[in-house]
Symmetry: C2
Subunit: 220 residues, 2 copies
DNA sequence: GCAAAAACCTTATACTCGGTAGCTTTGTTA
DNA sequence: TAACAAAGCTACCGAGTATAAGGTTTTTGC
């Protein structure tokens, strides 16, 4: 994600929330329409991925023409990043990464709770799974977003684990970075299998079992 | 994957290898062209996913028109399944699932070797990662293929682990199914992070560390 | 309270993509 | 070498993203 892109996302975010300062404020009808479009797009991207979603269908469900939709979001890509920003904002309320519970065990148990919550939201989980899968391609519009997301997540978890080590709660020889990456990998991998075949996988229980075993292994 | 689909794949496979019996055999030039198309498609699907790949581009690289390409593979979906069949055949040589080394530790170490091999083949890994990510959507053409693949993999690994239990090598209270799912999840999740940010992740080492810890935990 | 500006949203259009129809050329084989 | 299937082309369709240009509605500044 280059500087131009970042600037565009910021502009879009502020336009969508109607908080442009020097600029003119959007109309009330437009704000409502944008919010509606975002919610529909969230669903569609989650069900069909980025490339499998058509603007025409989103526009139809939002009851305007496709060109009308592109008035609010100048491109499909801009719509995607707006949706991702929306999701990030919603998630921030649930799991504040910059303020994880301190120490190893509380952090890992918070992740178990997150997985249990996700198990009740297949649509959202699918959005992230499909998008991050697509986004490993370097030229995908969400590639930079996905990189950034994983960096933030893994450093947050690793830091929390490292605190556990310093507090003497976890083994001194623990590789916090690798452990954080493993935990995230387990979450993503279980999600994938769960989405493909929900009946064959009790995602929350399997993840909990993994974390239980991990805690036995890394506790001091 | 329904019966019609399976029949189509079989027909394609035999046509592609030029082993039609009652039917006339394909020309040598056609066989060569098909092989070339498959290799190019393998690359393109791996780099851009299914929906991100265009037949026109594959045709251009194979030096024929898009309609000419569709003479050999009647649809994009048929081309995809042919590519997947090709990969499965290539993989079968490397890791024969129906004949995993018996017992827990040898099986898990074989998977470590597989991950080490994958770490040298980012293109192929990307093909599977992008495709399985896309394929969680129920109407994706590779959805059935992905389901089938995971069922086969997980039962193969679970069976091998169960043998380890029966032989007294692994703990009697091991949940072989859940353990197999966890191991696969770890492989997939690490691949995802590795593809997104290769420099931040030593995939093979991290997976090996996970397996080492797991073995300590589940050994009798 | 009224003009001007901006936002909103439309129709029309350009280009790309997967796929079909039908025709010509080329290679194989009897 | 004649018959015939494979190979590959042109031409086209419907659907996709995106742009251009224009008309209508709402807000804002005076």
């Amino acid at each position: 994600m280059d500087a131009t892109e970042t600037a565009k996302r910021t502009a879009t975010a502020s336009a969508a929330t109607g908080r442009g300062r020097g600029r003119r404020q959007g109309y009330a009808t437009g704000d409502a329409r944008r919010a509606r479009i975002l919610n529909i797009a969230l669903q569609e991207f989650g069900e069909n991925g980025y490339r499998g979603t058509s603007l025409a269908r989103i526009a139809e469900r939002a009851e305007l023409t496709q060109a009308g939709l592109l008035h609010h979001f100048r491109s499909k890509q801009e719509l995607l990043t707006a949706v991702l920003d929306l999701r990030d904002a919603m998630d921030a309320e649930r799991l504040d990464l910059s303020n994880l519970p301190d120490g190893g065990e509380p952090t890992l148990l918070a992740l178990v709770a997150l997985v249990e919550h996700n198990a009740r939201q297949p649509g959202i989980v699918q959005l992230f799974t499909v998008l991050t899968g697509e986004a490993v391609t370097t030229d995908h519009p969400a590639h930079g977003w996905a990189q950034e997301r994983y960096r933030l997540l893994s450093t947050s978890i690793a830091t929390a684990l490292q605190h556990g080590v310093q507090a003497g709660e976890l083994r001194a020889d623990l590789d916090a970075t690798a452990c954080a990456q493993q935990v995230m990998a387990m979450m993503d991998g279980l999600q994938l299998q769960w989405l493909l075949d929900p009946e064959r996988m009790d995602m929350a229980a399997t993840f909990r079992a993994y974390i239980d075993g991990l805690l036995k292994q890394i506790s001091a």
